[in-house]
Symmetry: C2
Subunit: 186 residues, 2 copies
C-alpha cells in the first residue's frame, strides 16, 4: 500500500498541489491521510498514523514548501508519530524498526522559481540544501529515500507544467504498485 | 526589548533548555513567549505575536532540535506569524518590512553529540547543514542573523557544560540590552 501523507492548510488556494493529490488519490493501492482535515486542532492520533504507516510499503510526504521545510502540521507529525522506540531505537538501543525497509518519496511544490534557489537568488541556496533535513529524517528511520519530486513556481507555472509533474508522479506510483504486487507474488 | 520565543513541548523533561530559559527570563528587557503553554491547541494569536515582535530589537528562537529543525509548534508559528505582506513583501512587492533591521539569535539544544553531526556520524551531516533553513527564514524577513548557539548532547552533558552555555547566553543578552539602550540614547 502507498500511503500519502498530505499536509496542505489551504487546499482551496492550492492549484498545483491539489492537482497532484486529485490525480493520485484515485489510484489503486493508495491511501491518503489529509492531516489538516483530520486534525484541525493538531491533536494527531498517533496510533492511527503509526498503524497506517505499518501497512505501507511506500510513504509519500506531499505538501507545499513553507519556510524551506514542511508545514507546521507535518513537522508536528514528525515530532509525535516518528517516536523514539518506534521509528528509531530507544535510549538502550532497542526497538525502533517499524519503518525499516519502507521507501519514502518527498513531493513538494514551492512558490519560488528555480532561479530563486541559487546563491544569488532570493532564497540564497540551492533547493538541494533544503532537502537534506527531510531526507535525513527518513533515513534516520531506516527508510529508503527515493529521488524527490518538486514543482517550483507553483503559482506561476502553466497547466502543462503541472500536468508534466502530475503524470510523472502517477507513473511512479503506478509502477511502484505493480512492482510491489509482483514482489509479493514471488 | 529582547523577545524570547520559546518552544518546548515537554519542559518537565528538559534539563538543558529549561536551565537556559530560567537564567534569561529574569534579565531586564527580556520577554518570554512560551508557545506550547500559550497555545495548547496550536491556535496561535497572530496579532499578539506580531505585536510582540514589533516591540523587539532582538528575537531569540529557543528550543530543542527535533528532526533536524524546530519543533512543530515553532514551525507553525513561522507559517502563520511570518506572514506575507507583513514579514516579507506581498505579491506586488509591497509591505513586508515589519522585521527589517531586527536581529535574530537561534539557541538550540540537541540530543545528539557533536560527533553525530558528521558525514560518518548517525546524523550524516554537519550541524551547519541544518542551520541553513532556519537562518534563511530569518534573512528572508530582513533580520540580521547572529552567530547561533547550540548545546549538543543535552541529555548527556554535565552541569558545568550547561552552565558554560548558559553564562555565555546571559552575557550576550545583557550586552545586547546595554548596547541597545546606549544606541537609543544617542
Amino acid at each position: 500500500m502507498i500511503l500519502i501523507v498530505w499536509a496542505h492548510p489551504y487546499p482551496q488556494h492550492s492549484r498545483a498541489n491539489r492537482a497532484l493529490l486529485e490525480a493520485v488519490r484515485v489510484l489503486p493501492d493508495v491511501e491518503v491521510r489529509s492531516l489538516y482535515d483530520l486534525y484541525p486542532d493538531f491533536d494527531i492520533d498517533i496510533e492511527a498514523e503509526q498503524e497506517a504507516l505499518s501497512r505501507a510499503s511506500l510513504v509519500v510526504w506531499m505538501h507545499p514548501m513553507y519556510w524551506y521545510s514542511v508545514p507546521g502540521m507535518l513537522k508536528h507529525w514528525f515530532d509525535v508519530v516518528l517516536a523514539r522506540g518506534w521509528a528509531y531505537p530507544d535510549r538502550h538501543g532497542g526497538g525502533g524498526t517499524a519503518l525499516h525497509g519502507k521507501s519514502c518519496l518527498w513531493v513538494t511544490t514551492t512558490g519560488g522559481t528555480e532561479e530563486a534557489f541559487t546563491a544569488e537568488g532570493r532564497h540564497g541556496h540551492s533547493f538541494e540544501t533544503f532537502v537534506t533535513p527531510i531526507e535525513q529524517t527518513a533515513r534516520f528511520c531506516g527508510m529508503q529515500w527515493l529521488p524527490p519530486m518538486s514543482l517550483h513556481g507553483a503559482h506561476l507555472v502553466d497547466d502543462a507544467a503541472i500536468a508534466l509533474v502530475r503524470d510523472d508522479l502517477v507513473a511512479r506510483l503506478k509502477s511502484w504498485s505493480q512492482n510491489g504486487k509482483q514482489s509479493h507474488a514471488e
